[in-house]
Every structure is written in structure tokens, then in C-alpha cells.
Assembly symmetry: D2
Homo-oligomer: 133 residues x 4
């Protein structure tokens, strides 16, 4: 069970003319989820980049079930669903904190690359995560 | 054959620390593609909204094949792949203008809703598009 | 003394190619500061808008003294410096939480308008704030 | 007379709940103005960065006179107003293309720094601009 839950309040600048969170911003939240999931394992993504380890999004998909509105607090659950030699798949569930309504689900596949964009193996701290053992 | 090609230059504020277009921004480009595709049919999306017709993204998926970099000019091709009573599916191809390399492909499903977020039929100007006849 | 301090962690999608917070994003943070300052007075900005009270930025100025970096936690202090019949001036100080270094200072002037964009008097809940008495 | 005019269409993802361009996005447009002004002089900012020359915004100020709306085409005029050993001041005027109404004016001061963030002299291609002779 390797997952992480964070709360995020929707910012004014993130909603569109309909008053709802623009679909492009969900990916920013999902990225925050991944950062915090790593931090729970004592891995700081900023440090990984300093050591030449980068994660790039290779594939993503999402379903938007209900709108998120300005100033609402959302609960994002991020978990690793699969880890390969040089890739990690995450799944996301975004709920409204107030009533627990599910707003969106998503999945991403990250590729691990070096500073020149060449595929490289996951660093041990990431590859040896609990869900792989 | 109902598609539309637009050129987009990657802005400084759109690239991340790796110097490449952040994956969240592609969706902003794809939305621009949809707006221009409508305009080719003499439909202005801003007018639709004034008449109480809104499109919300219900589903999306993308593959990122190669990075887009700051100041590069990209060619985005947007086309309608399917139209239902209250939904439209689009497909997108994003290439680098300089050498034609394919950078990303994506698909979205839009739902047509009214001002209160209730599903409604596509307006005739959108439903009667060439690809549906 | 009517001010409010919030902590904000810099998101990956907010930094640019130089690895530092893009200057356009500071305004998003300052807006968050204003929202939280109102909340401390039990005013929810989303409610104000529902009642036809909108604040628009009429003027702004900032000095950027030192860069804010990805994943750093920042401390933002927001305070009201002046209130007129239909305007509020705020001042902002953004520091790095780790060492207290001052990163940026800024000021904004907000105009209070109705749903049609016409200037209107501040609502009592905002006008009668402690700093005006 | 060293200035440059570009047209920019307001994107859906750039307007807020009021349907108007969010004040944080103007800075993205002004940055585009600077990039194009350099390009007119055959200077590509991406190349400058590759050579270790970076411009950082040290100071900025803006007045927002009238709202810019989704899908409107705007005309941005960018000009250099002053050049120092290691700094450049720009002024901006943003008008609505349709009727020429002035929407915003702004000024920025950029500092020229090297890859480590240390102040350095402007490169000759930028310092020797017509307005300095």
C-alpha cells in the first residue's frame, strides 16, 4: 500500500470562465501528488534532478466526472501502480473534501531519463519502493 | 475531411526546468486547435457560450513522443473523429514545424452542457459539420 | 495590524528554464494572500462574487530581489495598506521560509466592481475592517 | 525608434471567472513582446541563454485600464526605454485590435545575469541597439 493523500485548495487563477478548474491544471495537481509521494519515502525530486535523474511524462489519460470549483478543497490520492526498469505508472483519484464526491481519475506513465533525455534505469531509492517487493 | 492546422510558438513561460513544454500546456494548445476548427466553420466559441452552450472535457488521453522546446514553432492538426448527440471526440497531432517530427498525439471527448452544467444536444452549427454527413 | 501570513510551496510547473519561479506566478500567490486575508475576517471571496461584488486589479508593482526555486517553501505576508470607497491597496512581502531571506515585495490596487464591471462601493464586511477604524 | 508590435489572441485558459484576461497573464504577453523585439534585431533569446546570458525581471509595474476578453485579438507594442551596462528597461502598451482601446500599460526592468545568477554586462548585440546610439 504505497499511496499518498494531499489536500489542495483551488486557486482563483486556475478556474476558467465557467468557474471550474480548467482541465489543464489537473496535471499540475497530479505532479504535486507525485512529488509528495516521493517525499514520504524521503526522496526529494529536486535532489534527483541535481543528480541527473529526470522523470518525463510519456503517456497520460484522465476522466473528469464532476467539476472542481474555485476555493474548494480537494483531496488527491496518488499511488504507484507499476514500476519497470525505467518507468513508473501512477494512478490518481481526486475528490472534493467537503462531501467526498469523486471528481476525476487519471493515470500517467513516466519515463526516467538523464540530463540529455536518454532513457536510464530508475534510481534505487525509487525502484526499491515498498510496492515492488 | 474536417480538420484544421495552426502554428503555435512555444512561450518562455510554458517550458519547465528541463527547457521543454510542460505536459499540462499541451491541453491549452489542443483547446486552441478546437477553437480554430470551429472558426473555420464560422462558429465562434465565445458566441456559443453567450447562447448558453458550453463544452466541457469529459475524457482525455495523450502520448508524448518527443519534447517541444522554448521558441520552437509547432504545427497542430485538430480533427473531429466522432460526433454524438451531446458529445464530440477530437484527435490531435502536434509536430515540430522545422523538421516535421511528431511530438505528441492526443484525443479528447467533450460533453455539451448548458449554463447549469446539464447535458444538452449539440447546437446545429456544430452537429451538422461535414464529417457527420 | 491587519495582515495574514501563508506558506506556499513552489510547484514544478511554476518554475522556468532557469529553475526559478516565473515572475508571472507571483501574482497568483499574492491573490492567494488576499483570499486568505479575507477569510481571517470571515469573508469568503467566492461568496462576494455570488453577491455581485468583484475585485479587479487596477494597478500593480513588484520588486524581485532574489529567486524562489522549485520545492522551496515561501512565506507570504499580505496586508491592507489603504482602503477607499471603492478600492483597496495591499502590500506583500515574500520570504523564503528556510532562512527568512526577502525574495520580493509588491503592491496592488484593487477596484471594487459589480457584475457589469461598474465601480461600486466596497461591501461593509470589507470596508469595516480593523485597519480602517 | 526601436519598438515592435505583435498581435496575440486571448486563449480560453487565460481568462478567469469574470471572463477577462487574468492579470498574471499580461506578463507572459510582455515577455513575448521582448522576445519578438530581440528577434527583429536578429537576436534569438534561446541562443543567448545557450551562451550563458540570461535576463531576469528585477522590477515591474502595470496599470490595467480596461479588460481583455477571451478570443479578442490584442496588439502589443514593446519598446526599449533605457539601457544600462547590465540592465534594460522596457515599456509596453496593450490595445484591443478591434477598436484600438488601450487596455494596459506596463514597464519592466531586466537585469542581465550569467548562468550562476551573477550580474554581467549586456551582450554587444543587445547593448548596441539603435536606441543607444
Amino acid at each position: 500500500m504505497d499511496s499518498c493523500r494531499i489536500d489542495i485548495r483551488v486557486r482563483y487563477a486556475e478556474v476558467d470562465r465557467m468557474g471550474v478548474l480548467h482541465h489543464s491544471r489537473y496535471w499540475v495537481y497530479f505532479e504535486m501528488g507525485r512529488t509528495e509521494l516521493l517525499r514520504r519515502r524521503n526522496v526529494v525530486y529536486a535532489d534527483l534532478e541535481r543528480e541527473g535523474v529526470f522523470f518525463v511524462v510519456a503517456k497520460c489519460a484522465a476522466k473528469f466526472l464532476a467539476p472542481a470549483r474555485y476555493d474548494e478543497v480537494l483531496m488527491l490520492t496518488t499511488r504507484v501502480v507499476r514500476t519497470g526498469r525505467a518507468r513508473i505508472d501512477h494512478a490518481y483519484e481526486l475528490k472534493r473534501a467537503g462531501d467526498g464526491v469523486l471528481l476525476a481519475t487519471a493515470e500517467t506513465t513516466l519515463a526516467c531519463v538523464d540530463g540529455d533525455g536518454r532513457v536510464r534505469a530508475l534510481p534505487p531509492a525509487v525502484a526499491d519502493a515498498p510496492e515492488n517487493t
